[in-house]
């Protein structure tokens, strides 16, 4: 299966965020909020680090 790196990273971030949200929160609303925040933080950190590496390497 040919998967774009960004797609693989997004899937990883989404699924791990869901697992962490299920573990850490007790109400559906809190779980949804935690999953959304976790996913956003995963993506923001990964893209930020990628741009940092890109700026250092070029």
């Amino acid at each position: 299966m040919q998967t774009h790196h960004l797609t693989a990273m997004s899937l990883f971030a989404l699924l791990v965020s869901i697992a962490f949200a299920a573990l850490g929160q007790r109400t559906p609303a809190a779980r949804l909020r935690r999953a959304a925040v976790g996913f956003a933080l995963f993506m923001a950190f990964a893209i930020g680090v990628a741009w940092l590496f890109y700026s250092v390497s070029s």
Partner: protein
Amino acid sequence: MDQVSSQQPIDQPIASADPQSSPPSLAVAYALAAWIVPGLGHLLLRRWFKAAAFFVAVAALAITGYAMHGQAFSPGFDGSFGLAGFVADIGSGVFYFLSRPFESAGPDLSRAAGEYATRLLAAAGIANILAIIDAYETAGRRRP
């Protein structure tokens, strides 16, 4: 009457105070079920959302990892990295043992996607290990 002495001690263990708590052997059985099939431990404990969330997360991580030709570590791998990889991978239970049917062509680490997929397989196992611990604690204390 002294009101303080009539109150319950605040540091009393929850398990001994909760009449619904499971015996340790039953908690181990729930943990074992959670390991064999991700989400099964929580399903038996009637934690429907957690059961579905863990099954979907672990299954999707593992199946995507196999589809991208990731490396599932066997016990024969040398070195601490191989051992850590094996411990992480075997955490996904049935998805580890079904690695051959899922990945009949074998791993392909010649591309970056194969390396990413190896991490997805490890993440599936680690997520399920966290679920196993949670199922054990939930069975022991009936945590809501």
